[in-house]
Every structure is written in structure tokens, then in C-alpha cells.
Amino acid sequence: MNIRIIILSLTLLIAATPAAYSQKGLDIEPFFEENTPHNPDASVNVVSITGNKLKEHDLSIYRSVSVTGDEALAQRVERAVTRDGTKAESREVSLKRGRLYFGFYSLPPVDNDNRHTGENRYIFYLNSTLDGGRKITLIYLQGKAEPWQIRRMIKK
């Protein structure tokens, strides 16, 4: 085999490797990137945490995104949450004016990541624009924490 083709293949494999490791298989995943496309006038905040401070809560991964002033992005997020919510083992949702207002989903445990296999996964979604606010918030949690621990954590 031509050595130049081998080197090109290696180069492409290096480029592909980081993307392969970031896959989670959820539709909400792209919205946690800091450069997710949005209205230039909108306010978009992204938080990503993996570290010892999370272990105090029996968590390994925390991701959140909040959007203010981009209705199109908000609707895309809502659709992604609804799609991922269909895979949930349990869900608590509230609708207002026909739209998803609040959602808490417990997803099946991780099974495609050797390091995090068996960890529980949760999604929180809140559209405060349906209740007088201006923001939509999406949160992804992953870790050994059970649903009751998550509920207790948000009530603090």
C-alpha cells in the first residue's frame, strides 16, 4: 500500500478521534457547544463541568445551556428535548399553552462509553418564557446519583 495514502489515513484518523469521543447519542448534545449557532443578538450561556466538586453530588458530568432572545433556537432545543425524552425511563413534564414548560427526564444508563458505563443520565428543561420569564434552560446530568438525589439537589 502506498505509504502516502497510509499517512493521509492516519492524519484523517487523528482529526476524527476527538469527535468520536464526544458522541453521546442524544439530540440535545450539539446545544452544549459554546459555538452553537444562534441569533447574534441573543444571550447564550454554556456551562460544562467535570471534576471533583461534582463527585460531592455523585455526578461526573454537568452540562447546561441557557438561551435568551432566540425563539428559533429555543424551539430547536425543545424539539431535541422532546425527542430525547421519548427514550426516558421516567419523565415529569408540564405543558403550558401547548408548549413544553418543564421537563425532568431519567434516561437509560450510559452503555457506549467504557469509562462511564452504567452511570445514570438526566435532562432538565425549563421554558420560563411561558411563565413571564425570558429564558430557556437545558441541563444534562450524568453520574451515579439516583433520581431522588437529583430531586433533593435541586430543592436546595
Partner: protein
């Protein structure tokens, strides 16, 4: 493993879609081809070259690879091995506390943790409001049912 399964696994390896266990399996099968495997398998030979194996088939004697390209290939193999090990072993272990507020990067641990707690508190308030609404609805239903009795 059949030859077709081997080729599927090799193609997935080149596309960066294999897990560490699958790569170990591939390395083991390439090192010791199963009984009945074809004597000359170009795709398997290419995978062996990428994974650092000596080719099973004799090299072409009439065409020598220039030393420069051999060195570049060796460096590339080393780089990808190091990258795979680093991302696979350390990638998810390095603590990370990062927030982007309208594009401005914040990496202060306490600030980022406070943002997390603020987000979770909002969810707690919303969840409590939903529970209150549910209780209110149930009370209304109970009142109606009581009035019918």
C-alpha cells in the same frame, strides 16, 4: 471472526468508530489471522501497517520506500497512538470547570460551580411550582366531586 466481519471492523477503525475493546480485538486478529483467512488481504495489511505491525506478506523487493516517508509514517503512528491513549485515558479524567457567557470564557471553579447551582435552583423552583399546580388541580377536582355527593 469471518473475513467480512474483519473488514467491517477495520473500516470502522479507520473511521474512528471503534471502542478500545474493539481495537484490542482487531489487533489480536491481525496478529494471528484466523484459520482460512486469505493469504493476501490488502485491507488487513493496511490495518497492520497503521497499527504498527510488520506486513504479513513480503515487501515489494523492487521498490524501496524512501527513508523520509518511513520516518514520517513512524511519527504519525506514534502521534495517533499517543493521541488515542491521551484522549481515551485522560480525556474524561481531567477536571473541567468552564462556562461561556455570551462567548466570554470563564474558567474559575467557584464561579462556574455557582452558575451550576443557580441553574439547578431555577429547576427546583419550577419543579415546586409544577407540584403546586398539580396539587391545586387535584384540590379543585376533589371539591367538584365533593359537591356532587
Amino acid at each position: 471472526m469471518t473475513n467480512r466481519e474483519l473488514h467491517d471492523l477495520i473500516n470502522r477503525y479507520f473511521n474512528g468508530e471503534t471502542s478500545l475493546d474493539e481495537e484490542r480485538t482487531l489487533r489480536r486478529v491481525l496478529a494471528k489471522p484466523p484459520h482460512g483467512a486469505p493469504a493476501h488481504d490488502p485491507l488487513a495489511d493496511e490495518a497492520r501497517a497503521v497499527m504498527g505491525f510488520a506486513l504479513a506478506a513480503p515487501a515489494r523487493k523492487n521498490k524501496r520506500v524512501p527513508m523520509m516517508w518511513r520516518s514520517v509514517a513512524a511519527v504519525a503512528v506514534g502521534a495517533i497512538t499517543a493521541t488515542t491513549i491521551t484522549i481515551g485515558y485522560f480525556g474524561n479524567r481531567e477536571p473541567q470547570y468552564v462556562a461561556y457567557l455570551n462567548g466570554e470564557r470563564i474558567a474559575d471553579r467557584e464561579t462556574v460551580m455557582n452558575l451550576m447551582l443557580s441553574d439547578l435552583h431555577e429547576m427546583g423552583v419550577a419543579s415546586a411550582n409544577v407540584e403546586t399546580d398539580i396539587a391545586k388541580d387535584l384540590n379543585e377536582i376533589a371539591d367538584i366531586m365533593n359537591s356532587l355527593n
